[in-house]
């Protein structure tokens, strides 16, 4: 897909149609009591509360990629907080506050615990999903065994609650839904919301940009848990009945179905899906109780397999409502980042680093140090352990023995995001970027560590350190800031990743074959950039490379790695003339010539 033209007229239209849709929604909310009958009002009030929970599922799943069956648990916690407090303590202003406080605290505590169980280094997204399925099951069982306190399987009923008319409830529920939708909308459109999408796209890259993804996800789950809990509180207070089903996995599944059919990752899709399906269920489940569930289940499977984007976006697509407005931020040099720390301090030091997989020794006794301003070329035949060495430098959990110091601090067993905070930047062998985000968004996320992204708005200015700016300007990226990264060419993606790594303002840059698959011109450009990084800005660059001509051109020192050990270090000339290196490569000189 070509880049959308940045023509303001083109972008204004979808914004208007969104406004129109929003206006219709608000009008329905205000006029509801005069338009709908009592039965429908009842249904709609409950549907509004459920739709709030659906929005939280969408933020977690559609935007952040955490598929959860467990949001019903938080809804149930809120509902039971209302039911339990109003039944056992009574109803007064004080108890209302008590119940709301209990909802918030309990939801946050449970969400924190579930988050701790689900999100940690190396946890698969699948594992988090299974945990989210365990949560409602555990909670339901606890409620069932709660005896007369929780009302067991029949739940609690007949407690006193707000003495409001149906109309008032409709407006309250509608307002709560509108507020929840607005909160979600502001969040996902903000710069912080882009971080969520980045986590969904590529969690590994996020950690190597210094973002503690586990903490972000736990915080998000806590916020969304509280939101679902408050919706549940509203439901419990309105309906006057709470039952264990409200916490169950069945409701959790229904929430997912509403989001999937409504359109994940759109907010208004799940909102509309939640309300419409609830209303339809209320009318149809009496006339065709089993068939309706069957149709819903079948539709769900079909949508997941064939239309993963959901039904409502599919229906609205022809009207062009969906193209979000992408703003082109202004590029600016980040102040205070040019001080090159003009020292030749040791930037990275390895002592006795070893790595073995079982009995297979991949690295043994690596002693190595590199200073600021150096550009070290790391070469060696395939299987010498070059990439493994880079991994050991950037993730404390990788090596089997020895110490690694980054800018004077021992990295111990620290995860990549902590190594990044110590001053590390790592560029992977294959372009490792955020596929569904634009170039500008990718670059902004790379700066998350240095500039806390706003939860409320999009920054119109994109600040980058001078060398990252240089990469963006030297390559064609400057004109493609609004292009989605997936649509870039291979070389542009490589350049983008390099710019992202540099936006971190690292002291040590690890580059794994930065020129692989690039054209001659692109290679020259990258070479110039790397030289200026080391010589002008005093960064320490470590470069794994097969292209010896390229290495000769830019590196200040060569390290030859062979069978997991450092075979020699020195200048390029020393290396070329070394009999040892000739022996090492003698088996593969032929292959090397072909490769370069």
């Amino acid at each position: 897909m070509p880049a959308e033209p940045a023509d303001p007229v083109v972008r204004a239209r979808p914004f208007n149609s969104l406004l129109v849709l929003g206006a219709i929604g608000v009008a329905l909310l205000v006029a509801g009591p005069w338009v709908f009958d009592t039965y429908l009002l009842n249904i709609l009030i409950k549907a509004f509360f459920f739709a709030i929970a659906a929005i939280t599922v969408d933020v977690l799943w559609g935007y952040t990629g955490y598929l959860t069956f467990g949001q019903s648990a938080f809804f149930g916690i809120g509902a039971y907080a209302a039911g339990l407090v109003f039944t056992h303590v009574g109803f007064s202003t004080f108890t209302v506050l008590l119940a709301i406080g209990a909802t918030v605290l309990a939801s946050a505590a449970v969400a924190g615990l579930v988050g701790w169980l689900s999100f940690y280094r190396g946890a698969s997204p699948f594992f988090a999903t299974v945990i989210s399925l365990v949560l409602p099951i555990v909670l339901t069982q606890l409620l069932l065994s709660g005896g007369s306190f929780t009302g067991s399987s029949s739940g609690l009923t007949g407690y006193q609650s707000f003495d409001w008319s149906l109309e008032a409830w409709y407006w309250v529920a509608g307002a709560m839904l509108a507020v929840a939708g607005a909160i979600g909308w502001v969040l996902v459109r903000s710069d912080a919301g882009r971080v969520l999408a980045a986590i969904r796209d590529n969690e590994v890259r996020c950690t190597y940009l210094g973002i503690d993804t586990s903490r972000v996800k736990i915080a998000l789950l806590t916020a969304m848990g509280v939101m679902a809990g408050i919706a549940g509180f509203g439901y419990g207070a309105f309906s006057g009945v709470v039952a264990p089903e409200l916490t169950g996995f069945a409701l959790g599944t229904e929430l997912i179905i509403w989001v999937a059919l409504g359109g994940r990752g759109t907010l208004w899709g799940p909102l509309a899906g939640g309300v419409l399906i609830n209303v339809a269920t209320a009318y149809l489940s009496s006339s065709m109780p089993f068939a309706w569930q069957l149709i819903l289940g079948g539709a769900f499977v079909v949508v997941i397999v064939l239309f993963p984007q959901g039904l409502i976006p599919l229906l609205l697509k022809p009207f062009g409502v969906l193209q979000g407005a992408t703003r082109m931020p202004q590029l600016q040099e980040r102040p205070g980042s040019t001080d090159g720390q003009a020292t030749d301090a040791v930037a990275i030091r390895l002592q006795g680093v070893t790595k073995h997989f079982g009995s297979l020794k991949v690295l043994q006794g690596i002693d190595f140090e590199a200073r600021a301003g150096e550009l070290v070329g790391l070469i060696g035949p395939n299987g010498a352990g070059k990439t493994t060495l880079m991994r050991c430098m950037s993730d404390g959990a990788e090596r089997s023995g020895g110490t690694v110091e980054l800018c004077g601090s021992d990295i111990r067993q620290l995860p990549p995001e902590a190594c990044v905070r110590l001053g590390l930047g790592r560029k992977f062998q294959n372009a490792n970027i955020f596929e569904s985000l634009t170039v500008a968004e990718c670059l902004r996320i790379a700066g998350t560590r240095l500039e806390r992204p706003s939860l409320l708005h999009q920054d119109p200015v994109l600040r980058l350190p001078p060398y990252a700016l240089h990469v963006v300007r030297a390559t064609a990226l400057e004109g493609k800031l609004a292009t989605v990264a997936r649509d870039l060419s291979h070389g542009e993606q490589q350049a983008l990743e390099l710019a992202m790594v540099l936006a971190l303002e690292p002291r040590v840059v690890l580059l794994d074959e930065p020129t692989a698959g690039l054209t001659k011109t692109e290679r020259t450009q990258i070479g110039e950039v790397l030289s200026s990084l080391a010589h002008r800005y005093g960064l320490c660059c470590l470069l794994v490379e097969h292209d010896l001509d390229f290495v000769e051109l830019i590196s200040t020192r060569i390290v030859v790695l062979h069978q997991g050990a450092i075979a020699m270090q020195g200048s390029f000339q020393e290396m070329v003339n070394s009999p040892l290196v000739k022996t090492i490569y003698s088996g593969s000189t032929h292959a090397m010539k072909e490769g370069s």
Partner: protein, 277 residues
């Protein structure tokens, strides 16, 4: 003594239920959330046998046939298009579980049903009378474990399967039809799932949601145990023991939650589970 037998037979039940999922998820890395519905389907297969007043042993082969047939259908229609989208595969198979559940409700009703066991009465073991059918499950589980281990490690099919898991592109370029390997494994796993459903129903009852509690436990056990059948058997013994002990000395409700909670904590502390620790 009764406690020990409870423990062994519970472990055997867990293994029987989990083995099919192990084939599909543990070995092939295909997420199949319809496994619970397959268990239910197997339960209803044995219910049909009971209703038709046939020999209860017939429930087992019938369940396998139904399971393999359903598995073949599901693999082609739902699982295959979603190989590259694992989270969506969870949802689609889960949705399929809902559809199967609703079809069962429409066909058999919501109520809880009972089936007759192929073996009734008790056997005496070390001076204790114990349900014969439960005891039979222990050798069944061991035989199943040996047979599946043999299949995966000792046959040409097993070698191909492992080749596909390790490096699908390479396997394909060596002439292994990876799609077919997946198809066969999935169908086999589905068949094992329904067989398990038929095996466990005489011990409990049949209802349209009977598979769900097993589903979560089964996934947890497979994740904890890694990828070999033998370690799965060991995991089933350990976690089954924990479940029995908690049910006996604390409360059955807590016992029902033991496996899920314990496995979650185990995986949090040792992310790689038992096998590769």
């Amino acid at each position: 003594m009764v406690l020990l037998l409870d423990l062994l037979t519970t472990a055997a039940m867990l293994f029987v239920v989990t083995a099919g999922l192990m084939m599909v998820f543990g070995v092939m890395k295909i997420v199949n959330f319809a496994h619970g519905a397959l268990l239910t389907l197997g339960g209803y297969a044995s219910y049909v046998v009971t209703r038709l007043q046939m020999d209860p042993w017939l429930a087992w082969p019938l369940a396998i046939v139904v399971g393999i047939a359903v598995g073949m259908l599901v693999e082609g229609l739902i699982v295959r298009p979603l190989y590259k989208r694992p989270l969506d595969a969870i949802l689609a198979t889960w949705g399929l579980g809902i559809v199967i559940g609703q079809l069962i409700v429409m066909g058999f009703g919501r109520e809880v049903q009972f089936v007759s066991a192929p073996l009734s009465g008790t056997w005496q073991v070390a001076g204790v009378d114990y349900s014969a059918y439960r005891l039979v499950l222990v050798p069944v589980a061991i035989v199943l474990c040996l047979a599946l281990t043999g299949l995966l490690n000792g046959t040409r099919f097993g070698v191909r399967t492992r080749a596909v898991i390790m490096n699908e592109d390479l396997a394909s370029s060596l002439g292994i039809h990876s799609g077919r390997v997946r198809f066969i494994t999935f169908s086999l796993g589905a068949g094992l799932g329904t067989l398990a459903g038929a095996m466990i129903t005489p011990l409990s009852s049949v209802d349209p949601n009977m598979g769900l509690p097993w589903l979560v436990s089964a996934f947890m056990l497979v994740m904890v145990s890694g990828h070999s059948m033998a370690s799965l058997l060991l995991t089933c013994v350990v976690f089954g023991a924990a479940q029995v002990l908690v049910s006996t000395y604390a409360s059955p409700v807590l016992g029902g939650l033991t496996i899920a909670v314990l496995a979650a904590v185990t995986l949090r502390i040792r992310p790689k589970g038992f096998a590769r620790g």
